[in-house]
Amino acid sequence: MNRNEFLDKLEKNLRGLPKADIEDTLFDYSEHFTIGFSKGRSEEEIAKSLGDPITLAKQIKATNFIQSAQDKSSVRNITKAGIACIGLGVVNIIFIVPLIALVLAVVGVLIASGVVVVASLIALIASAFSQDLYSSLHMMGNRSVNIFLSLGTLCFGILLSIATCWILDLFYKYILKYLKWNLKAIIGKESV
């Protein structure tokens, strides 16, 4: 492989990264070729000693995405980081499936708690404030009891949503930690 082939492959596989990062990276490897060449080494030899540009690009992308996921917590960022690491073979696929199932389950609970909050809010308003709503909802039983019950479920719903948000936040932190730890292990391995 010569210098241009190496840099081309590298650039192609870095797509998805911010432009500044791509240019920065290409600068580094270009400089490496230039200096190596000035010391009398051939482009082929330099390219060979650098290693596979596709693997290098994957490592750089994974590192970059993990950093982004750390800087700004978002579903998009952690997903990009996760996908980049999977592409590197850094993540055990068997680990992923139950993890995704678990995350979806927690999200499901969060949505359900949202529904509980809304429903109990409606019931509370109906029982306490609006006779019309109360009868149109065909609510039965002692109104005070209903007020009490809907207040209870409202609090429960709110607590549940807070708890699930907290759990999801924890998941995010630990997934990120796992990705970082595995990436360090892989990059360390690739350094040899």
Binding site: D24, T25, F27, D28, Y29, E31, H32, T34, I35, G36, S38, S49, L50, G51, D52, P53, L56, Q59, I60, T63, N64, Q67, A185, I187, G188, K189, E190, S191, V192
Partner: protein, 106 residues
């Protein structure tokens, strides 16, 4: 040399070299690969990570041999990280040595 040893050590080597002398990328790769066989291309992702983590900064410096070169330099944070890693390394190697029977007081 065993792959397992090399894994954690490359970062420590980079930080230590940079503390003693600010280097440009090729120079760093050259120094390390003289002592340890590595895939040279991975030094640059490592340097990028260290820069993102705030352990190193870069600057351009004129060179008599061609275009300006990008130099790497340790930050306060980088020095601290290096010190921590060296502590771990020394502890680790002395423990291993004593297990290997290097401790003559046994």
């Amino acid at each position: 040399m065993n792959i397992q040893f090399k894994k954690g050590v490359i970062e420590l080597c980079v930080l230590s070299i940079l503390q003693r002398k600010e280097c440009y990328g090729y120079e760093l790769v050259d120094r390390i690969s003289q002592k340890i066989i590595i895939s040279e291309g991975t030094i640059y992702p490592l340097l990028r990570r260290l820069k993102k983590e705030g352990c190193v900064t870069t600057y351009l410096k004129e060179s008599t041999e061609g275009p300006p070169r990008k130099y790497y330099k340790l930050t306060e944070e980088g020095i601290k990280m290096k010190d921590d890693l060296i502590k771990e390394w020394k502890l680790f190697t002395s423990n291993v040595n004593s297990l290997l029977g290097g401790d003559s007081n046994e």
